[in-house]
Symmetry: C3
């Protein structure tokens, strides 16, 4: 009985620290103002939850160049955010369609088989969803 | 006891087959590039889950002509996807506002009283949400 | 046993009245057609659930002038909808960035520390999400 109560108290005390905020952002527009907005949103969310944010940006369709080394305007931001734990994943379906291979992506970028399926699966796992676009 | 365990094992073995992916897509833009993108996204998701996808496209507001026979550029795709089980539903509020009656819609189109309420209710039932728009 | 069944029956009878529909709308575009569309969507949803709608519009980024007295085209609608219980909240991060102080907002507007974090937290609490944008 004593042990159980102790355990419960500890969970309450550390509750704020252990609550992870899981967020999937869908980026599928060619509009670079939307790209910039997504970067800004991520930085704002990081300030709110510096230690308990689990965020994945799924890049597909007309946004794919956001993760292409020779095309993106946001390489520095993406690399810095990746170091801080934000995941950036390119859609393999889109890459195939646009003849983009893995070597052409920023080194920090991951690849998922289907961008839209990824966004769906994360929601199924309880992640919050943010759609990019202005 | 034996029967229970057997049942449990069967559920595990067939788990991947029976998991249905419920997805509601909100299409409310006049931008035909977004219409095309939605069609492409659906086809990609179908390849990922050919046997366990339950998807509804809710068409309302400025997108309503997507489902109007004399206006849409995507009649063939919509009809084919409908045969494959994808549902396309027009918003009755929007139809009234634009003086569109049921006869003017593609035959495969369904009608829901309120497009936005439909999108909300599907999320309440645990469906994943995809917002169209580029 | 009798009491339990009675209670269950009452819950069924009043089930439709007590089910609250919680909805968060993210408005982050400068496009005033999207502002108008959000106003129209809210009015449509109110007709569907006149007595059991709990809705918050989170205004941030390029949409912030939607809630600025001297800038918005929708002051009358926003004030009327506020009286009817719809909440409109401005993002404090955006206000700081655009040098907008609380006095410059419509009186009915609330303020949240981070617009995107607010949208995420509402989803975590089970609210449905609608992204604005056409």
């Amino acid at each position: 009985m004593f042990a159980t109560n102790l355990c419960f108290s500890q969970k309450q005390i550390t509750g704020d620290q252990v609550k992870i905020h899981n967020v999937v952002i869908q980026l599928n527009t060619a509009d670079t103002a939307s790209w910039s907005s997504v970067i800004g949103n991520i930085k704002n969310i990081q300030k709110v939850w510096p230690n308990n944010l689990n965020m994945e940006v799924v890049v597909h369709g007309k946004a794919i160049e956001f993760l292409v080394k020779e095309k993106t305007y946001f390489a520095n931001d993406i690399q810095m955010l990746s170091l801080q734990g934000i995941k950036f994943n390119a859609c393999e379906n889109t890459m195939r369609k646009h003849s983009i291979n893995a070597d052409m992506l920023l080194k920090v970028a991951g690849i998922v088989p289907s961008g839209v399926a990824e966004v769906i699966m994360k929601q199924e796992q309880g992640w919050s969803y943010l759609k990019s676009g202005l």
